[in-house]
């Protein structure tokens, strides 16, 4: 007999340890606020709790930031390559979308900030 009763218990305990570690390491960190900057200055700090849209002016035109419950994205941006738009929805603390040509950035913050500061 390969497995005894305690072995199965140890295996189950090990599996739940792995699951708990996975949840705590990968599952947490949901953001709750979004910080929008234009030309390096914070122009808007909004909660992720309710849906709203911000229009942020930049040197190339207007960047439209869309906030839905729990997540945010750059919905439209005049930048030529549309990198920050293609990044899609951001929901985890520390995630950020940068529209460099228009000098606009969108950053998700959590309760515990993942970084002290980020320089772009």
């Amino acid at each position: 007999m390969m497995l005894r009763a305690g072995d199965i218990g140890v295996l189950l305990a090990g599996a739940s340890t792995v699951a708990a570690l996975a949840v705590s390491a990968w599952g947490g960190g949901a953001g709750d606020t979004v910080v929008i900057r234009a030309a390096g200055k914070v122009v808007e700090t909004a909660t992720l709790a309710r849906a709203q849209t911000f229009a942020v002016p930049g040197p190339l035109g207007t960047t439209r930031v869309e906030i839905a419950p729990g997540r945010a994205r750059v919905a439209a941006d005049p930048s030529p390559r549309q990198l920050c738009v293609k990044q899609g929805w951001l929901s985890r603390a520390g995630e950020a979308a940068l529209c460099l040509p228009n000098q606009v950035s969108v950053e998700i913050r959590g309760r515990d900030p993942a970084y002290d500061t980020l320089g772009y």
Binding site: M2, R4, G6, D7, G9, G14, A25
Partner: protein, 178 residues
């Protein structure tokens, strides 16, 4: 003056430990040839030998085999006293500590699989504790922790089943005269 020769008496125990340590070193070397997705994730085949030694000859012998394996492996890999060697040492120490406690679990319910899984968790725990405290302070390791723990669980279970089979086959070979 006559040249004095130092005689070191070699007991049967010494020979057995040396033989088993050589086996463990061989497995460590063979395992190094296997590709690994992440440094530090290895099947830990030498732990099969350590566990067999623990179950058949006791904890002291297992600790000796483990220490000789580390030393021999370090010399053969050329990594003696390099960071990797210390990580392996920390893992082996933690694993042996866990085994020292876990072998007192009632054997009726807890077989080699339990010991192997617990030792594998001890192994990866010791290595990561040293790595987190010394080589990679910060949150980097936390994000890899589930992967390491998952690998410890799987390889620990597989090694434990191998040990159980090996024990069963040796005991049945002893039981049935040819």
């Amino acid at each position: 003056m006559t040249p004095s020769a130092i005689e070191l008496p070699v007991s049967a125990d010494d020979r057995r430990i040396a033989r088993l340590a050589a086996l463990a070193i061989g497995l460590t070397l063979a395992e190094a040839a296997l590709p690994s997705p992440l440094p530090g994730i290895k099947p830990g085949l030498a732990n099969i030998v350590i566990l067999l030694v623990l179950l058949q000859y006791g904890w002291r012998a297992a600790a000796w085999v483990s220490a000789l394996r580390l030393l021999g492996g370090g010399i053969l890999f050329g990594s003696l006293f390099a960071p990797g060697f210390w990580l392996a040492t920390a893992g082996a120490l933690a694993s042996l500590t866990v085994l020292a406690l876990a072998r007192h679990l009632p054997a009726r319910h807890f077989g080699p699989v339990s010991l192997s899984v617990l030792a594998a968790f001890g192994h990866i725990g010791g290595q990561l504790a040293l790595a987190a405290g010394w080589l990679l302070p910060g949150p980097a390791i936390t994000h890899l922790l589930p992967l390491f723990a998952g690998a410890a669980l799987i390889f620990g279970a597989v090694n434990g089943i191998l040990v159980a089979r090996l024990l069963a086959s040796t005991s049945s070979a002893k039981a049935t005269p040819e």
